[in-house]
Symmetry: C2
Subunit: 351 residues, 2 copies
């Protein structure tokens, strides 16, 4: 409106101080809740707040962060945002953090070590306050350096055995153990386990639960590992699973170690024209909308998504808000899974 229209300058703390005839320091104190502490009168504080509100002044967070060293940003480094498991966890974490005044930046690693290093390095440059990471393989060094630099960091979904750190994971071994036992109880004779090439803790745990159950029952194991790439499209993997199943028809049940393998596995089974569970029983690690609606419905080892999110953000915020570094205790949280029994694993009559 005025003749200075084009000089659309943002309001600065200086502007508001001058307008009110108070000092910059006063404004800063009031804005940072230090009015009482600095013995600033309620009336004045009130006046400042009102004016700030009126002109819609927002402090420049860059300047603030540069000065204080705090950004109130948490970096969430997950495997793949297009995977419903991670998407849901991310969404929940974001929600919880938001309420506590923290913002989340999330990035997908695609389980790619180099990309993850980039990500961590970028986050460091931006001075985020803390990390929640689902680490891919080969990232010990970077995570260790985060830990050593005292940046609050919690690992999610999997941990790094060689490092002492906070983490929040799931008891995957128990999940697959229960799943395998359930299949055997249902009369399946030969249970195979389909997993990925990854040696990460969560995948290995799932494998171990399966192994334990089969060993206890004195059954032969069949473990098949596939290479899982992100964003590759389904053809390769589906046809590899297709061949595997076709060439191993003595196996009458399969446990898939994650939802991607399960989905591709179901596609392969459909293409083979096999009936579930008559020809082949199926259990998936990780639940999915699909499994409720598939015909037949698919038994799944469900992860406590809500609880994973809640615990990881809680642990992180606790570290973030505790001033002393004294309490160097690490929180390692292991959450139970639950077996959701549906049609794909039921040979005996439903009740």
């Amino acid at each position: 409106m005025s003749s200075t229209d084009k000089v659309k300058k943002r309001t600065l703390i200086h502007d508001i101080a001058r307008h009110l005839n108070v000092s910059i320091a006063t404004v800063s104190f009031v804005l940072n809740g230090k009015a009482k502490e600095q013995r600033i009168s309620d009336a004045l504080a009130e006046k400042v707040l009102r004016y700030v509100e009126e002109v819609g002044y927002k402090p420049n967070q860059l300047a603030k962060s540069l000065r204080t060293g705090k950004t109130h940003v948490i970096g969430l480094i997950i495997e793949d945002i297009s995977n419903p498991f991670f998407a849901t966890v991310a969404w929940l974490i974001e929600k919880k953090a938001f309420g506590r005044g923290y913002r989340i930046i999330y990035c997908s690693t695609d389980n790619n070590t180099a990309k993850t290093k980039d990500l961590i390095s970028m986050f460091q440059e931006r001075h985020i306050d803390g990390y929640i990471i689902a680490p891919p393989e080969g990232i010990e060094e970077e995570v260790n350096s985060l830990l050593r630099s005292n940046k609050p960091t919690v690992l999610l979904d999997r941990y790094i055995p060689s490092l002492i750190s906070d983490y929040v994971v799931v008891d995957g071994a128990d999940g697959t153990y229960q799943a395998a036992r359930h299949l055997l109880e249902q009369g399946f004779e030969n249970v195979a386990f389909v997993t990925s090439e990854s040696r990460q803790t969560q995948m290995e745990a799932r494998l171990q639960g399966y192994s334990k159950a089969l060993d206890e029952a004195g059954r032969a194991k069949n473990i098949k590992r596939f290479v899982v790439n992100f964003g590759e499209g389904l053809e390769r993997l589906v046809s590899e699973i297709y061949s595997f199943i076709k060439n191993n028809r003595e196996y009458d049940a399969i446990i898939f170690a994650n939802n991607i393998l399960s989905i591709y596995g179901l596609e392969a089974i459909a293409r083979l024209g096999l009936r579930i569970p008559e020809d082949i029983g199926v259990i998936s690690f990780d639940d999915h909308d699909l499994f409720r609606l598939h015909s037949p419905t698919i038994t799944a080892i469900a992860q406590p998504v809500e609880s994973l999110a809640e615990n990881s953000i809680d642990v992180l915020l606790r570290k973030l808000e505790q001033t002393s570094e004294a309490e160097a205790l690490v929180d390692t949280i292991v959450l139970p899974t639950s077996l959701i029994i549906r049609g794909s694993s039921m040979r005996k009559s439903g009740r």
Copy 2:
């Protein structure tokens, strides 16, 4: 190791300048690719680069951004990261932007106006360089203020009719038009349309395509709107759809206006014990893993996810990198959908 062990200070530009006996300015120029321009000898430039590499010096981005006003961060504000459509788009956008040196911060609006305002305001405080937004309802004012402040902003998936802005959307009307015609051709008599309460452009377009097809064919329309909340759990919606279908058995086909409605709709149909497509034909707007694997497979109006991502990031980066504000031309891009015909909409024999 040394006695100054605890003073684990980050390397600063000053440190590296001093170590090399050059000026801070020189280092800065070299680091910012202005060596040539400043006529700095290749030898010197090389030396600087090598030392920087050696000590792993990383400029403090906060300081840099404060000084330059550029953050190289793009804010991606989408509806719901736990929806596979948005998750995939987000993942693709992140990937493309990453390669071009930009980082993405994404947040979900949950289609909640207040939260979106918060988000935009937080992004402004952090001085991000540009926005990609899937705007919820009631957000015209904030988006308009972004536009007026000359922040590059592209709208995604839907636009705001009252605003002149860049956007990248899909031709939803054509999608549902084709879908409805396909159903009628297959001999379905009464096609219903299930959508949400939202009046956003993408939802209204889908509705219009349906209306047009039915009007042209001289058929009666049946449009049902449901309230869709995020993160609410499925019970309420499933049972509402259940009742709707149960009370409208004269309709022998339904087009669901998005993937959430489709998934819940399929659940409702399963609970009702209806056969697809014999009792009821089904088409979903938006494809999903589930639909390929469902029995029968579900016909879907697929959105060109890759192309949506590519176009929106391209448009944004173009705005970001063009210096002059002269070319105030807006890019409005409308991408075609494709009808993927599967079992759920086929009454006539497959060929």
